[in-house]
């Protein structure tokens, strides 16, 4: 039987992969993608709990999260484009014009 643990476990693995990618990636686009992974992990949690507890609010929240994630990606990529225009690269390790 597939229990809620299975889903939570899957979500956790997804979240970890996302966190790893987010911290290790140099390219900003990849960082953004890793964040999407993390958000999806949270969503899997929400939907799984919703499904197993019989409450619908989790699904509703998950659908909001999807919209929020899309908005976030949109703004994020717009900022990336600005950065690319100024720096000719989106490598975060090169974005070091400010240092103390």
């Amino acid at each position: 039987m597939v229990t809620v643990y299975h889903y939570v476990f899957l979500a956790a693995v997804l979240f970890i992969i996302g966190a790893y990618g987010m911290l290790s990636a140099r390219n900003a686009v990849r960082v953004l993608m890793s964040i999407e992974l993390m958000l999806n992990a949270a969503n899997i949690n929400l939907v799984a709990f919703s499904s197993y507890s019989g409450t619908v609010s989790g699904q509703a929240l998950a659908s909001f999260v999807i919209a929020v994630a899309a908005a976030e990606a949109g703004v994020g990529i717009a900022i990336l484009l600005v950065l690319y225009r100024r720096m000719r690269s989106v490598n975060l390790r090169e974005a070091v014009s400010m240092r103390w």
Binding site: M1, V2, T3, V4, Y5, Y7, F9, L10, A12, V13, L14, F15, I16, G18, A19, Y20, G21, M22, L23, A25, R26, N27, V29, R30, L32, M33, S34, N40, N43, I44, V47, F49, S50, S51, Y52, G54, V56, S57, Q59, A60, L61, S63, F64, I66, A67, A69, A70, A71, E72, A73, G74, V75, I77, A78, I79, L80, L81, V82, S89, V90
Partner: protein, 165 residues
């Protein structure tokens, strides 16, 4: 038995897709991998009976966000830069360690909802009820609308080239 198998296969796709995002050499492949992962997550939702959400996931993520990422890769010519240099910080390592800890935690603890799935499969209407009921999530729903508008205004302003003015 079949259920487990289905879950296993889908999970493998999810994880393979995610791993592709993080580890793929070429960024374009990573985005495609992301698409795979997100579609598989939609499949996960279907196994959970959340068909509405699955569709939304495909519509917004696969159709919108992934395309946006593809654009980003193309516009920033990111694919020309290969990565996979040696790790220079402990942050990713610690992330993984922390994650393993979390997994361990989850593996040996209980959550409140137990046992079989409780929600009727494919209950689009009930999700709609929650989202649009003023007593429930109507307010956040409208907030999401405003959020999307705000994001759009911001993104358009930023992406616009000022020379056009």
């Amino acid at each position: 038995m079949i259920q487990e198998l289905v879950f296993l296969v889908i999970s493998l796709f999810v994880i393979a897709g995610a791993a592709g995002v993080v580890f793929a050499q070429r960024l374009f492949h990573a985005v495609l991998s992301l698409a795979l992962c997100l579609l598989s997550v939609a499949a996960v939702y279907i196994t959970l009976g959340a068909e509405f959400l699955a569709v939304i996931q495909v519509l917004v993520y696969a159709g919108g966000v992934v395309v946006l990422f593809l654009f980003a890769v193309m516009l920033t010519r990111s694919d020309l830069q290969l990565r996979r240099e040696p790790l220079e910080s402990f942050a990713p390592v610690s992330a993984v360690l922390f994650g393993v800890l979390v997994l361990f935690y989850i593996a040996r603890t209980g959550f409140v909802p137990q046992g079989e799935r409780a929600l009727a499969p494919g209950d689009v209407a009930s999700v709609g009820q929650v989202i649009f009921s003023p007593k429930a999530y109507a307010l956040p729903f409208e907030l999401v609308g405003i959020l999307l508008l705000a994001a759009m205004v911001g993104a358009i302003y930023l992406a616009r080239r000022d020379e056009r003015w």
